[in-house]
């Protein structure tokens, strides 16, 4: 457990030293949400209708883009090799890295989402559901994204490939996440949606770390 906390602390410290890791996904999130009214229509009624979907898609893309970097610097400077030859379980290291990635991407996105909700005229009933659904859904996105990151970390053209691999896997989270917000905005109960998002999170927490560890071993060992 001490080791797990130390590993999370190290990654958060690294992110804090390089502010862009934290700021870039947030800026991207905001910009996508700004593009949308410009491209389609600034009319408040229309925007209120599509806001849940737009915010969720923007959050999903922001998570995906930052996922590419989860293992990249560790791979480049040899830290990943050291993790593989250490007696510490790789699954634990992987979980720590995913957790810290979530804190700097998904968690911050969830905190920032009310701002976007306001800009896109999301009905106030949907606000709590938006934050909750993002808090429950983005960890799954981080876990799945890390699988793609692990598989492509040794490749030169990682960036676009990872979206090809991972976006299809994001679909269930997107459907239930945006569904939560839509239901809340219409005044419907959301407990069922949240339970589904939670179930997805539990399932991916149980399986994804092993897939990520296997992917990293393949990327490093060749």
């Amino acid at each position: 457990m001490n080791f797990f906390i130390a590993a999370v602390r190290r990654d958060l410290l690294l992110a804090l030293r390089r502010r862009s890791d934290i700021v870039n996904p947030l800026a991207f999130f905001l910009m996508v949400a700004v593009m949308f009214p410009l491209a389609v229509s600034p009319e408040s009624k229309f925007l209120a209708q599509v806001a849940p979907g737009v915010i969720w898609v923007a959050a999903l893309l922001a998570c995906l883009l930052s996922a590419d970097g989860i293992f990249r610097s560790d791979f480049d400077d040899g830290s990943l090799e050291q993790m593989l030859v250490s007696p510490q379980p790789l699954v634990l290291i992987v979980l720590a890295k995913v957790l810290s990635h979530w804190i700097i991407s998904g968690f911050c996105l969830a905190l920032m989402s009310p701002l976007l909700a306001m800009m896109l005229f999301l009905p106030s009933e949907g606000l709590g559901a938006l934050v909750l659904s993002l808090l429950l859904g983005t960890p799954t996105l981080s876990l799945l994204g890390a699988i793609g990151a692990g598989l492509t970390v040794g490749l030169r053209k990682g960036g676009i490939l990872i979206s090809l691999l991972i976006l299809p896997l994001y679909i269930p989270v997107l459907i239930f996440g945006a569904g939560t917000v839509q239901a809340a905005a219409m005044g419907l109960p959301i407990a069922g949606y949240l339970a589904l998002l939670g179930a997805l999170l539990v399932l991916s927490m149980m399986l994804a770390p092993f897939a990520i560890a296997a992917a990293l071993k393949i990327s490093v060992r060749g």
């Binding site: 001490n2 080791f3 130390a6 590993a7 190290r10 410290l13 690294l14 030293r17 390089r18 610097s73 480049d76 400077d77 040899g78 830290s79 090799e81 050291q82 993790m83 593989l84 030859v85 250490s86 007696p87 510490q88 490093v220 060992r221 060749g222």
Partner: protein, 208 residues
């Protein structure tokens, strides 16, 4: 301690080595020789489980390595081409993380290890302000901390000056004297005081 039996490895349809067998016991230094591209790095990576595209068997304390992985990893120290040093962290933070990763690193304090590699006073500077040689030394400070009996070192002396090399050689000698063993590759003429170095030439192995 470590035994290699009948190792075969090819890369890009070229045989790097075949029928390679050797063992290393406590108190031994083995230097892997060979031209560039003869597979020295590949061999070391196979030995520490970072390359799986080989045929043959590896034994650690008479047991197959795959079965005693955790035990093996906790008694083996690997320093590769890449130092595994994060440039945005300070030397001290880097070593603290390495200690977390490898519980066998605890012989002396981090401050003392950094002093030993001549980085006294550089503990709390981010590593990107250090020179290449200094960064390399941060990675090598691990050797002063390590209690692992087996060291696997890939070109440990690159980017070091003469004095640094001599110091590292003395460190190797002490490690071997205490019953440890070392497998390494280097372009230097290795001189470990008080010990003979066993050499394995990969070019000769490939031909056989």
């Amino acid at each position: 301690m470590l035994e290699v039996k009948n190792l075969f490895c090819e890369r890009d349809e070229r045989v790097l080595f075949s029928h390679l067998s050797f063992g290393i016991s406590a108190g031994e230094v083995v230097q892997i020789e060979g031209q560039n591209g003869s597979g020295k790095t590949t061999l070391l990576r196979i030995l520490c489980g970072l390359n799986e595209s080989y045929q043959g068997e590896l034994f650690w304390q008479q047991k197959e390595i795959a079965e005693v992985r955790d035990d093996y990893f906790s008694q083996m120290l690997y320093v590769g081409h890449l130092a595994g040093v994060k440039s945005t962290l300070t030397a001290e933070e880097n070593l603290a993380w390495m200690q977390q990763l490898d519980p066998a690193l605890d012989k002396v304090s981090i401050a003392e290890a950094l002093k030993n590699v001549g980085l006294y006073g550089f503990e709390d500077v981010p590593c990107y302000t250090l020179s290449a040689g200094q960064q390399r030394r941060v990675g090598l400070a691990r050797l002063y901390l390590s209690t692992a009996p087996l060291w696997i070192l890939d070109e440990p002396f690159t980017a070091l000056d003469k004095k640094g090399v001599a110091e590292k050689e003395a460190l190797l000698a002490q490690h071997v004297f205490n019953g440890g063993s070392v497998i390494l590759t280097t372009h230097h003429d290795l001189n470990v005081p008080g010990h003979t170095v066993r050499r394995i030439n990969l070019n000769e192995v490939a031909r056989s």
